[in-house]
Amino acid sequence: MPAEPDDEIRDPALRRAIAELRRPVSLDADVERRALARIRAAGSPVRRPVRLVWLGGTLAAGIAFLLLARSPEPTPPPTASTTRPVLLRLAAPASRVAVVGDFNDWDPAATPLRRTDDGVTWTVELHLKPGRYHYTFLIDGRRWSGDPAGARAVESDFGAPVSVLTVS
């Protein structure tokens, strides 16, 4: 319901009451000075630091969460300027051959070899940074074979033949 305009209020008593309420309140200067002094003496409002604690703590926790919960960055693919080409070859009668190693998170699906024209030689070219890498071949998805042309790893911990490659 819309408000009734003041000039349409007929009741004189009501008009006086409204006028009184609209009159600015002037406090005695001494009263105002004492009130301000009390406020200063009381210090900051009680709830304010609590809110700051919440805000600061939550922000800190959020930052910590973002830093700690962030999944480790996947290893970036080596760039051409820092890597060396490495050719792996395996002679094996097979329908598919893959290589797994330190350079591809030991993922059997990551690095398939390509069969050459002779039908039994499989090759793949990797681009690796200087370092020492362990690897092995997976033949037809079910047999492990070390690299006959590579060094055998001393640290073969899991039973399968593992070779080692040094990139200079």
Partner: protein, 193 residues
Amino acid sequence: MQAGWVVPFLLVLAGRAAAQDHRLAERLDPPTAAAVQRVVDSAAHEGLPTEPLIQKALEGGTLGASGDRIVYAVGALHGQLGRARQALGARAGEADLTAAAGALRAGVSPASLQRLQSLRGDRPLVVPIAVLTDLVADGVSPDEATRSVLDLAREGRPDEEFMALRAGRGGPAATEPGGRPPLRPAADPPVDR
């Protein structure tokens, strides 16, 4: 006031729980992944490289090893990395430390690694250490292998000559396409998965 820290504390705990390497969580069973992650966290706290530990765990997972065996292998590598850093110092990089850990496991002495480091100066150690390790793995006595490698290092020889030393004993000669030795029949029969 105290309650104000409860939620942030829980968030931090949740964050820590979620900080597990996603590769471990995806490729290993939960107890094994958690145990490996503890070793990884410990290594990180000590300033040791963690990626070799993760790769060792992934190797075990792919090769079908049991969880206990994976955790044991990762723990052993953690110890070897720690001994490698004792030998080479805090400034040694990840590649050098990883190579040195393998050398120590093969039977090369920490003193030999330190001597090699002093002879090489600021040059990377990966290739000489790898050649030393491969020679020992091939049956050359650690003393003889160390003497051969240190001789080259003393003369300031390039990495290619270390690789040639390895190739001279029947090892792989180079790492570039066309540089690999001819295919040889497999020394070991393939192992079923």
